[in-house]
Amino acid sequence: MLYREAGQFKTSYAADMAIFPIRQDRIGVIALLVFAFVGIPLLAHFQLWPLGSDYFLRAILIPFLILSLAAIGVNILVGYCGQISLGSGAFMAIGAYSAYKFGTGVHIPLEFLGTEISIAPLPMIVSILLGGLMAAIVGILFGIPSLRIKGLYLAVATLAAQFFFDWVFLRVKWFTNYAPSGSVAAPDFYFFGYLVNSPIERYLLCLVFVTIFALIAKNLVRGNIGRQWMAIRDMDIAAELMGIRPLYAKLTAFAVSSFIVGVAGALWAFIYLGAWEPLAFSIDRSLQLLFMVIIGGLGSILGSFLGAAFILILPIFLDQVPHALGVPVTVETVSHLVFIVTGALICYLLIVEPHGFARLWSIAKEKLRLWPFPY
C-alpha cells in the first residue's frame, strides 16, 4: 500500500515528464544517492561492514560504476538506436589512450615541416573528457557506414574498429610513450589540485562521473533526440518518412555513445587499472558490455546498471558459492561456468524477456502497486 501513485495528480506536463513521476520512486532514488555519496564513504571511513577492507570498493563498487557508465554508452547505441556494436572495447581503449596522451603531454613531430605540435600535460579531468571526445570522433567515423548498411553488416564494421584499434595501440609505440613493455601506467590523478588516491576518493570520483552522465543520458533519451533514436531503431524507413534524418540521428547516437564509452574507458584505465595493456580493451570487453546491455535491458538506463552488476557479480558468486558449499572448483572451471551461464542467460532472456532485468523490475513494481489486491 506504500507504493502507489493514487492521489498524485499531475498538475502540469512538466511534472508528467519528470524522470521519476511517482513520488515513492523519487524518494527511493534520492535515498540511494544519499547512501552512495554519504553512507558508503562513512562506512568506509569507520571500516564498517561490508567496507571493512578496501576490497569491496576496489574490486566491486569502482568497477561496477565504471562498467555501468560504459554500459549506458553501449545502450544508447544498441538499445536505443538499434545499431549493433561489437567494438565498444575499442572505444574504451581510444578514451583511455587519448586521455593518457593528453595527460602526459602530446608531441607530434612534424619533421617534414621542420616543426612539431606540442601540448603540455593537461589536467586529468580535461584529459578524460578529451578522451571521450576522441572516442566520439572515431565513433562518428565508424558510424558512417551505418548510413548505408544495417544491423548485421554493421556488426562487422564495428568489429573492424575493434581489431584495428587493438593493433594500433599494440604496435604504434607513440600511444604508449614508447614504453618498452607496451604497458602504460596512469599518471597521478589530481582533481583541481587535489590528489585523488585512496579508494574512497576514487570511488567518489567515479560516482560523480556516473551520476552526471546517467542524468545526461536519461535526459537525452526522453527528449527529441531520444525519440529519433528509437524511431530509427523501431522502423527506420518510417522514421525517415516522418522527417527524421537518419544521418543526424545515427551519427549523434554513435557520437554520444562513443563519448560515454570513451570516458568510461579512461576511468577504467586511470582509476580502476592504474596500469594497463591493450588486452584490457579486447573484443572480450566489447562482448561483455553487450551482454550487460542485453541482460540488464535494451533501451533502459536502469538496465545498464543492473546488467553491469550482474556481469560483475556472477564470477564472484560462482567462485564463492561452491567454496562455501565445500565443493572446490578451479579458476578455469569458474571462468567456463561464467561463459555458460552468461550465454545461456542471454538466450533465455532473448526468448522470454527481451527487455531484460529492467523489465522484470518494472513488472515487480507494477505488482507492488496493486498489492495487496492482485488485479
Partner: protein
C-alpha cells in the same frame, strides 16, 4: 624474377589459406540462407569440433587403438557432437526465437557462442592440443623457373583439396538429394516451403548440422596447422568479413570472398606490414570489408534489395 617469384609464393599461400575462410563462410551462408540467422557461433563450432576430434583421438590412441581407426572413430564422434549441438540449438534457442528480428537472433548466437566455448572447454579441456592429420612440411615447385623454387606448404594444399571436395559434396547434396532440394526451397521462401509441407524445424536442424560438419572439416585443417586451441575462434570469425565481401546470400560469393581475403591479407602483410609495424593480418580482412561496404553494401555477389513499406 625473384621479386615476382616471391609475390607468387605469397599469393599461392594466401589463396590456399583463404580456402579455409571460404569454408567457414560457407557454413554461415548455409545457415543464413535457410533460416535468416547470422551465426556468430560458427567460430565456436569450429573450436568445439576440433576439441571433440583431438581429445577423442588422443584418448583412443593412448589406449592402443590403431591410428587409422582412431581417426575414423574420432571424426565420427566429433560429427555426433556437432549433431547434438545442432539439435540443442534448434530445439532450445532458435525454435523459440522463430519470427524474431535478425538482431535478436544474432545476439542469441552470441549467447550460443559463449555456451559452446564454455561447455566445450569444460568438457574437453582448454589447452593447446596438437593434431596431426596431414603433413605439415612444404614442397618446392617450379624451381626450373624460379631460383630455389616456390615454397608451398602441404597442409595448405590439403586444405584446398578438402575444401574443394566439400564444396563438391555440398553441391551434390543440394542438387540431388531430397533434403537438399527442400533446403533450397526453404531458403527461397520460408512460408511457401512450409505451406507445401516441408518440415521447417527438421530443415533447420539439418542446416545447423551441415554447418557443424563444415566446421569440423575446417577444424581438421586448422587444428593440424596451429593445434586445436581457443584462438581458432577468432580465426574463424574472419568468415564475417569474407561474407561482407562476397555477399551474404551467395555461395560463390563466400568462396571468392575467402580467396580475396586470404590472398589480400597475406600480400598486405608482406608488402605493407613491414612499413607500418607488422601484424596487420589481424585486422586487414575487417578493414577491407569495411571498404567494400562503403562502395558496394550488398557485397560483390549479393543482390540488391529495394526495401518496401
Amino acid at each position: 624474377m625473384v621479386v615476382f617469384g616471391q609475390f607468387l609464393e605469397v599469393l599461392i599461400g594466401g589463396l590456399l589459406a583463404g580456402v579455409l575462410y571460404s569454408l567457414v563462410a560457407l557454413g554461415f551462408v548455409l545457415i543464413f540462407k535457410a533460416s535468416g540467422v547470422f551465426n556468430f557461433a560458427q567460430g565456436a563450432m569450429v573450436l568445439l569440433a576440433g576439441l571433440a576430434l583431438v581429445r577423442s583421438l588422443d584418448f583412443m590412441v593412448a589406449r592402443g587403438i590403431p591410428t587409422w581407426a582412431a581417426i575414423v572413430l574420432g571424426l565420427l564422434f566429433a560429427a555426433v557432437v556437432m549433431a547434438i549441438t545442432a539439435a540443442i540449438i534448434q530445439r532450445f534457442v532458435l525454435g523459440p526465437l522463430v519470427n524474431q528480428d535478425g538482431l535478436s537472433l544474432f545476439m542469441a548466437t552470441i549467447g550460443i557462442t559463449f555456451v559452446i566455448e564454455g561447455a566445450g572447454q569444460m568438457i574437453f579441456g582448454s589447452d593447446v592440443y596438437p593434431l596431426s592429420l596431414f603433413p605439415t612440411d612444404a614442397w618446392f615447385i617450379l624451381d626450373g623457373i624460379f631460383e630455389g623454387g616456390l615454397l608451398v606448404s602441404k597442409i595448405d594444399v590439403w586444405g584446398g583439396v578438402i575444401a574443394g571436395a566439400l564444396v563438391a559434396v555440398l553441391a551434390i547434396f543440394f542438387q540431388r538429394t531430397k533434403t537438399g532440394r527442400a533446403l533450397r526451397a526453404v531458403a527461397d521462401d520460408h512460408a511457401a516451403a512450409e505451406s507445401v509441407g516441408i518440415p521447417i524445424t527438421w530443415i533447420w536442424f539439418v542446416v545447423w548440422l551441415v554447418a557443424g560438419l563444415v566446421a569440423l572439416t575446417a577444424a581438421t585443417v586448422w587444428g593440424t596447422k596451429l593445434g586445436v586451441q581457443f584462438s581458432i575462434v577468432f580465426l574463424a570469425l574472419k568468415a564475417l568479413p569474407v561474407l561482407i565481401i562476397g555477399g551474404f546470400t551467395s555461395v560463390p560469393g563466400a568462396i571468392v570472398g575467402g580467396l580475396i581475403v586470404g590472398a589480400g591479407e597475406k600480400i598486405a602483410e608482406v608488402y605493407l606490414g613491414q612499413h607500418i609495424g607488422g601484424g596487420i593480418e589481424y585486422w586487414f580482412a575487417y578493414v577491407l570489408a569495411l571498404a567494400v561496404l562503403l562502395v558496394r553494401p550488398q557485397g560483390l555477389f549479393g543482390e540488391r534489395i529495394i526495401e518496401r513499406i
